[in-house]
Amino acid sequence: MLDKIGIAKRIAKEVKDGYYVNLGIGIPTLVANFVREDINVEFQSENGVLGMGPFPFEGDEDADIINAGKQTITTLPGASFFDSTTSFGMIRGKHVDLTILGAMEVADNGDIANWKIPGKMVKGMGGAMDLVASAENIIVAMMHTNKAGVSKLLKKCTLPLTGVGCVKKIVTNLAVLEVTPQGFKLLERAPGVSVEDIKLATEGNLLIDGDIPEMMI
């Protein structure tokens, strides 16, 4: 089974040379730490920066340079700043190659819910609805089940949707899955996790075709 760092490490392998990548808050943010150093990638943050670098050294924080998680950041050579409409123009116009975000639920048709629990938690969708409606390459990073052990990979989302039929791939603590017209196709198992474990933790339609390899991290 993977921890959050393990999920981030596995997703980092999906980041290819020449990609512009938007990372959501939480596990997705960690992905930046594990991208191969021999490839060229630029991270976009929807609040208006392309070419995000690591956190600043202590004492170098600048209140005017933050990421979408409101954390102080730095920029790398080649970086640019822009306004919010330009930023979402990059996203809506499909100029961003890969979007990685967290989710509360994903359905086997690619629907995603990640912004609201009616009556309990309403933080808002931020840029998530814009991202999932336009991005062609969306990977979800999340735990396979919630704290109560209930599957987050469902036949149908129970929470208010963020977007419909948009998720392409999911990396959880148990597995890598692809969303296909027939449902979740199991691609890889996490180390020490059996196909049976994944079946038990998946409520949505799960397709298992032949031997399922263990993830390489």
């Binding site: 609040n47 170098d60 209140a63 005017d64 933050i66 700043f81 306004d83 336009s134």
Partner: protein, 233 residues
Amino acid sequence: MIKKTVHNVEAALEGVQDGMTFMLGGFGLCGIPENAIAELVRLGITNITCISNNAGVDDFGLGLLLQHHQIKKMISSYVGENDEFERQMLSGELEVELTPQGTLAEKCRAAQAGFPAFYTPAGYGTEVAEGKEVREFNGKMHVLEYAYEADFSFVKAWKGDEAGNLIFKGTARNFNPSMCGAARITVAEVEELLPAGSLDPNEIHIPGIFVQRIFQGEHFEKRIEQRTTRTRN
């Protein structure tokens, strides 16, 4: 040169009234019009509608207006990080219209640029699209969204000149440029107000035509919401 300078924040906010709709720039606490917000608190006007991506934190930014129950309605994309906001929203004291971030930005820009409405794919199939017109373009469904209408836009820039030209810094730019000229009156507060001719026309982000009043803010706290650093070595 058409001069846009006013002497202070009091003059800049002349005409604000109970029940008005305001646009306020900023993302989190980054690039917010701190001086205008402080003056709105001092004036004590109530029943206002605020169009702003976020709602500040409990004791800073728009959180100050929430604390004093001056806001009737918030139009935002993300309202986490603010307990008082969540309390007022869940208790029904505060009306909240959550809007996808890119849509919110574009509804401001549409108002600035004279578009009454536009289609976007964001929110299709979700509760955000309920009751809205939808239309298919190139095999994909889109939602019709209308330009905002606001009485005042309060924006914050890094440098400005007497003619109202603005230059923003870093990610403090965010929603500020799209809100300029998107309300009946745009008020810009800047860290440094310079004589006309001091700024290179090639470097201007927002031309003065979109700004009615400009002043140098007396105090900018520029609070950091999430101070994240790495250690040297």
